[in-house]
């Protein structure tokens, strides 16, 4: 016996599906095939919040609250270990960032190191190299968001379009491999290939041309860094997207095929929206981290192109703080980064929600 099931879906989803259908039939949501429509991952439900039930007295609300908490006791039980963990290993060490206000020395410790108030923060603003560091960091991060981020999605879609299961598995294994190589090896190989005395230049000179300057060219440094990241991590980042894609309800595809949608439209209207939640999540996180770039990758290659092109915040902190043992300054930079990151995440989340998307929280 078929059961007609009305399922809540968001307005965006309904519009999508009707667009897909292209014919003024009943929207899919109102007719059930064997099973009800499941919205794809990431779509948030509109929930009935019992708190919104108004006109209850405070004490009544209190007892309601307690009763709800009791009802959800299992959730609290499942929450507890993780919560304790975060308190112990994230928030407790956070207290250590107090050294941002000290001229901290490990030997003297927290209690005997002199207090210098905001001096570390002031140094942040007066250091002549900070401007360049911020600029380079932002450019590299933005380039990564524009190019490296979508490349994982694109690869996942390409993989998904493969017919042969075996070839798909083979490709997945191959694509994950670069992630396992450390930067030292990758850069060493890169130099062998593209360096002044490298394979590419041997080839060019052999053909009669002049050697080209890839690795030591300051103008090419930032794109080169992004290219390297794409090589290393595009494949690895498909893991999450593939996991998300497999969770998309196949009946959506079936219905779309029935309605005559071809491969591209299926990708545009089902697959992409289906993984939209994850994409948005990762994008917000990436934006939050905009002030971080990889350290090792840049550190290993920066001498050749000069500090002007390659100094980023992480390398900036390295020479000023870690080499000289200026832990207070390092902590100050970390605090500032955290505050900025929090602001960015908050803003990004608000913006995303304005577009009707499910945000981070």
């Amino acid at each position: 016996m078929r059961k007609v099931q009305l399922v809540r879906i968001s307005e965006g989803e309904r519009q999508t599906i009707s667009r897909l259908a292209q014919i003024p039939t009943l929207s899919i949501a109102s007719v059930s095939p064997q099973k009800p429509d499941m919205p794809p991952i990431g779509q948030k439900y509109q929930e009935l919040d019992s708190d919104s039930v108004a006109t209850k007295s405070t004490s009544h609300k209190h007892s309601l609250l307690l009763r709800r908490m009791w009802r959800e006791r299992w959730v609290y039980a499942l929450l507890l270990p993780g919560l304790l963990y975060f308190l112990a290993f994230y928030y407790l060490p956070l207290l250590g960032n107090i050294v941002a206000f000290q001229d901290y020395s490990p030997y003297l410790g927290f209690f005997r190191s002199p207090w210098i108030g905001l001096a570390n923060f002031a140094r942040l603003f007066t250091d002549p190299e900070i401007g360049i560091a911020i600029q380079n960091t932002l450019i590299i991060s933005i380039l990564q968001i524009l190019f490296a981020f979508p490349s994982g999605i694109a690869l996942a879609l390409l993989l998904n379009a493969l017919i042969s299961e075996r070839f798909k598995r083979f490709m997945q294994s191959v694509l994950y491999l670069p992630h396992f190589l450390g930067w030292v090896i990758i850069i060493s190989i890169w130099q062998q290939l593209f360096g002044g005395d490298g394979f590419l230049n041997h080839f060019i000179v052999g053909m009669g041309g002049k050697p080209i300057d890839i690795i030591t060219n300051p103008d090419f440094f930032k794109p080169m860094v992004v290219l390297q990241v794409m090589w290393k991590d595009s494949g690895w980042s498909t893991i999450i997207f593939m996991a998300a894609i497999t969770a998309i309800d196949t009946s959506l595809y079936e219905a779309a095929v029935v309605d005559g949608a071809n491969k591209w439209r299926r990708i545009w209207h089902i697959t992409l929206p289906g993984i939209r939640g994850i994409i948005v999540l990762l994008l917000i996180l990436r934006i939050g981290n905009i002030l971080s770039t990889g350290f090792e990758q840049i550190f290993l290659q920066r001498t050749a192109v000069g500090l002007n092109a390659s100094e980023v915040i992480d390398t900036f902190v390295y020479s000023r703080a870690l080499l000289s043992g200026d832990w207070g300054f390092a902590a100050a930079v970390a605090l500032v980064k955290t505050v900025i990151a929090a602001l960015l995440v908050y803003t990004a989340n608000r913006t995303v929600k304005k577009f009707g998307e499910a945000g981070l929280y």
């Binding site: 991952i41 929930e47 959730v75 270990p81 993780g82 190989i189 996991a243 998300a244 939050g288």
Partner: protein, 297 residues
């Protein structure tokens, strides 16, 4: 409940020959680009000193030898390191999954008082990096120093993995959970019998992230471990590269280490191969999805 298995696209429409060939060609080019450096690494690891002498790119060593590998393996430290790493990957990942899954599920429940606050607190940790020294003091305080647990417990939940897993859990249809609750199931049972079975792809992905993280963990090991017998394989391999690069001193070794580059590449291969063996077991979760079935009437 009925289960619907993910079906191949081929059943839905006829793929165009041109389209698929372009796709395959692209994939093959990508494969070459991704694989090529590995072939190089592999080739150098099997090279002898004569092959690397002029520093040219090698695809097939003219004089292959196992010298680099036998030199790396002869001290027995690699095996000891493997033991430690297997412990980390096995026990560590299990612990990670336990902690992460429970909290991710709990955070994905809506309407639980206080949940939003905890979520905020967790999200904030995504952006905080505790300093090395304070983390060390905390780890010391908990008595974990110089044990392998120092590499497991402080890293029990990675905020990123937690947030991603929660996102997957959020997409489990509310109806399934509600109907189970109506049947009298508590959250633990729901987690076990509904949510987890439906999230296999996500769980496999997160487990893979944790496992690889444990395998590659280097920095924490050097800071928290004093007993070299506890070093995971990543530290051992780094030390072997250092050892190979040492200048020969006058009175010393009767055996010459193989050329630095070959040792370095052998180390890279040894660092990758074991973890690659794990991957095929998890792969099936990424290609086939097990989807929710219907609520049959």
């Amino acid at each position: 409940m009925e289960r619907q298995v993910y079906t191949d696209m081929v059943r839905w429409d006829k793929p165009s020959f041109l389209g698929q060939s372009i796709l395959y060609l692209t994939m093959l080019i990508l494969a070459v680009v991704m694989l090529f450096p590995f072939l190089y690494v592999l080739a150098v690891s099997f090279s002898s000193s004569r092959d690397v002498a002029d520093g040219r790119l090698i695809i097939f060593p003219a004089h292959p030898t196992l010298a680099a590998y036998s030199w790396v393996l002869q001290g027995g430290q690699f095996l000891q390191g493997l033991e430690n790493s297997f412990f980390l990957v096995g026990i560590g990942t299990a612990f990670n999954m336990l902690m992460t899954t429970t909290m991710a599920y709990a955070l994905s429940r809506r309407g639980v008082p206080g949940n939003k606050f905890v979520l905020w607190a967790v999200l904030l940790t995504l952006l905080i990096a505790p300093g090395i020294i304070t983390k060390y003091l905390v780890v010391k305080q908990f008595g974990l120093l110089n044990t392998l647990w120092a590499l497991i417990i402080p890293g029990a939940i990675l905020p990123f993995n937690l947030v991603v897993l929660r996102q997957f859990f959020l997409s489990i249809p509310e109806e399934l959970i509600d109907s189970a609750k109506l049947d009298g199931a508590n959250d633990l049972q729901i987690l076990r019998s509904i949510v987890l079975p439906l999230s296999k792809a996500a769980l496999a992905a997160i487990a893979l992230f944790y496992a690889v993280g444990h395998w590659n963990s280097f920095f924490d090991a050097t800071i928290y471990l004093n007993n070299p017998q506890l070093y995971p394989v990543s530290v051992i391999l780094r030390l072997l590269v250092l050892q190979g690069g040492q200048s020969m001193t006058e009175t010393l070794t009767g055996q010459t280490a193989p050329p630095d580059q070959t040792v370095q590449m052998a180390v890279v291969v040894l660092a990758i191969v074991p973890i690659l063996l794990i991957y095929p077991f998890l792969q099936k979760y990424f290609t086939k999805g097990v989807l929710t079935g219907s609520i049959k009437g």
